[in-house]
């Protein structure tokens, strides 16, 4: 009995020694390759703090929207989702919000110019993390998500619909759900009537309505926007490979670093936050400063010059659905962005919003009118730019390639209610 035990022990010991011997060369080999990888993955404290600021874990909770009392109301989210996908709110019964904001494409589409009933002059915007914005649309002509949602409905090239028709459809098809959230709905007569349309007959019909009737329609229309906004607020980005890398770096988990990003992707990240100065505009965990810049992107052929933000400033101030307007739920002290809006239209002439770079690789074509087909073209455009802020003649082709592969690491799941 004892002999067997001894033999077993001896055998086990032998096996252990053998395993150690076997493991030794591999072990030393793996440490030396790890050493060379560590040098790629070594970042100083300042760089780590920049990477942390880009990390999805740094994304704060959704900002409150004081102008929308129903922004986080679950019933409003559910109703807004139904509005979002309902193509009856369109002149040809074919266009819904989801026509241009496709859930399978990070809630945008793949066209250079948005296409609803007709063709627009700008590209559809991505809705990923859109609720973190201060200004909406490429030119920031809206100051809330609910007010933004109302724009396309009455555009003659998007939904081609009117607010009065929207209100009527809601009384017919969504009365119960609407009243559960917003209270009693008055009876609305079906009419093609709106103050914000190119349809002259619709405009005439609108002005012949009584102020009380117009207010009733506006109220329902604004609430429709608030429900859509409640749903769209839930569309946020999920963690990408870059975020896994950032997390590993923050946790100092060196074993994961090399498994998450390739050396070229890491070099791309280094350029992105360093020499290429991309973070001058694409900063924070949504990779945008939410500001407006004229980067000299060419006007597409046969299209008039677009004055961008300069026009947006005028429009947002004149908008009846802005934060300080009658249909906003915000107190007058809660509209600081509108109140202190920079009205320098010269400074913002031809300026467009810095878009998020999350899921950017899946969102071709690029720029406000889809001027560039590939990310490489975008990077080449910035390299060649003769603007002092943007030009990067010093970047090599290899470095441009590294930036491009890095941008691909920003793709992650899209989370929506």
């Amino acid at each position: 009995m004892n002999t067997i035990k001894y033999a077993q022990r001896y055998y086990l010991l032998l096996v252990r020694v053998f395993i150690v011997i076997l493991a030794l060369p591999f072990h030393s080999a793996s440490t030396s390759s790890a050493a060379s990888e560590i040098s790629i993955h070594s970042w100083d404290q300042k760089e780590i703090s920049v990477i942390r600021s880009l990390w999805i874990g740094s994304l704060p909770p959704l900002p409150k929207d004081p102008s929308n009392a129903f922004a986080d109301n679950p019933a409003a989210i559910a109703l807004g989702k139904r509005f979002f996908f309902d193509s009856r709110f369109s002149g040809n019964l074919k266009v819904s919000c989801a026509t241009c904001h496709r859930p399978d494409m990070s809630f945008t589409d793949d066209l250079p110019l948005a296409h609803g009933i007709g063709s627009n002059t700008r590209r559809s915007m991505p809705l990923l993390g859109v609720a973190y914005n201060t200004w909406f649309f490429w030119d920031g002509r809206k100051d809330s998500l609910w007010s933004q949602a109302l724009g396309p409905l009455e555009s003659n090239v998007e939904h081609g619909f009117t607010r009065t028709s929207c209100a009527y459809l809601i009384t017919r098809n969504y009365r119960h759900e609407y009243e559960a959230i917003f209270g009693q709905i008055p009876d609305i007569k079906n009419a093609v009537a709106s103050p914000a349309t190119k349809d002259i007959i619709a405009l005439k019909t609108w002005v012949s309505m009584t102020p009380a009737q117009r207010d009733e329609v506006n109220r329902i229309y604004a609430n429709m926007g608030k429900a859509i906004a409640a749903y769209v607020r839930t569309i946020v980005p999920g963690p990408s490979r870059f975020d896994m890398y950032a997390k590993a770096l923050i946790d100092n988990d060196t074993t994961i670093l090399s498994k998450t990003l390739t050396p070229d992707e890491v070099q791309g990240l280094r350029l992105f936050i360093g020499k290429a100065k991309c973070t001058n505009c694409h900063n924070g965990s949504l990779f945008t400063n939410s500001d407006f810049h004229n980067t000299g992107v060419p006007t597409p052929p046969k299209m008039p010059r677009d004055s961008g933000r300069a026009d947006g400033i005028r429009k947002v101030l004149a908008d009846e659905f802005n934060c300080l307007g009658k249909y906003s739920d915000a107190g007058s002290g809660e509209c600081a962005e509108l109140r202190y809006l920079d009205t320098n239209t010269t400074k913002y002439s031809g300026a467009f919003k810095t878009p998020t770079l999350r899921n950017i690789a899946q969102r071709a074509p690029y720029m406000h009118a889809g001027q560039f087909q590939t990310l490489r073209e975008v990077l080449e455009f910035y390299r060649k730019s003769d603007s002092h802020e943007l030009g990067h003649s010093e970047l090599s082709d290899k470095e441009l390639g590294q930036l491009e592969v890095f941008l691909h690491t920003l793709s992650g799941p899209v989370i929506a209610n």
């Binding site: 201060t134 001058n280 900063n283 924070g284 400063n289 939410s290 500001d291 600081a336 962005e337 109140r339 202190y340 809006l341 920079d342 009205t343 320098n344 400074k347 003769d386 002092h388 802020e389 030009g391 003649s393």
Partner: protein
Amino acid sequence: MRTILLTIFLVLSPIAVFAAHTGHSEDGQHTKHYEQSLFKMTDNGLYSVEMVIKDKDLKVGVNTLDIIVHDKSDKDVAGAVIKVVPWMPEMGHGVFEKPVVKERGGGTYSIENIILIMEGRWELRLKIKNNNTEDSVIFDFPDVIRSASMSQDEHKMMHSSAPADVDTSTARESVKKLFRASYASDVTPIPVGRIISWKVRVETADGSPVKNAEVVLSGEMPEHGHGLPTMPEVTEGAIPGEYIVQGLKFSMPGWWVMTFKVKTQDKEDVITFNLIVP
């Protein structure tokens, strides 16, 4: 004959003509070589310095100039150690890059790589050290402006990061020393992309609060050439000498220069703060 030779020299080599005397300085003792040059005695009268700026005026961007240094007895000073510091007295900062001083002989020194990063009042502060004697002089340039043409390289050289010697104190004196001001942010560290409010205290040089002043704030990022994304408003607070800034937002991390214009019934002055938004 001498005039012809002089002309040839002038055309061929500006440095060579330093030996030729073309005039006298205001004190009548020191030689001035050029009509269009700046001439100053050092603070303790040890040296005379004549400054010839290559492009006639200093400009925002890269500048090169020559100085001709003579001693008390108007002799060329050779082998001096010369240090040049460009400085913005109203802003409390200098430049990113150090100017490079090279001795040319005949008391002439060329100063290259003077990279002025923004428009405004600049000083060139010179220290001259020779044989254990040291003296200094400040040349004042009240209105340096951007030149019409600036190359991309020139721009890049200017825009790296905030000057190492930037004064980021939150309490500062005004340019003409009429006021002192300090500020405090309602949110610290100062956030990016969020509207915040500042409280600013303005007092006179002797420490009494400045009431009923008109205060206007502007902000600029010298490295990027753009300002604030909002139009903040300044109103008088409840405490005498206190002013409230509302609607202030920073769109980018980095170096910001915040300028307060303070105007009372009889006085007007400017106070500038440097600020690094993390």
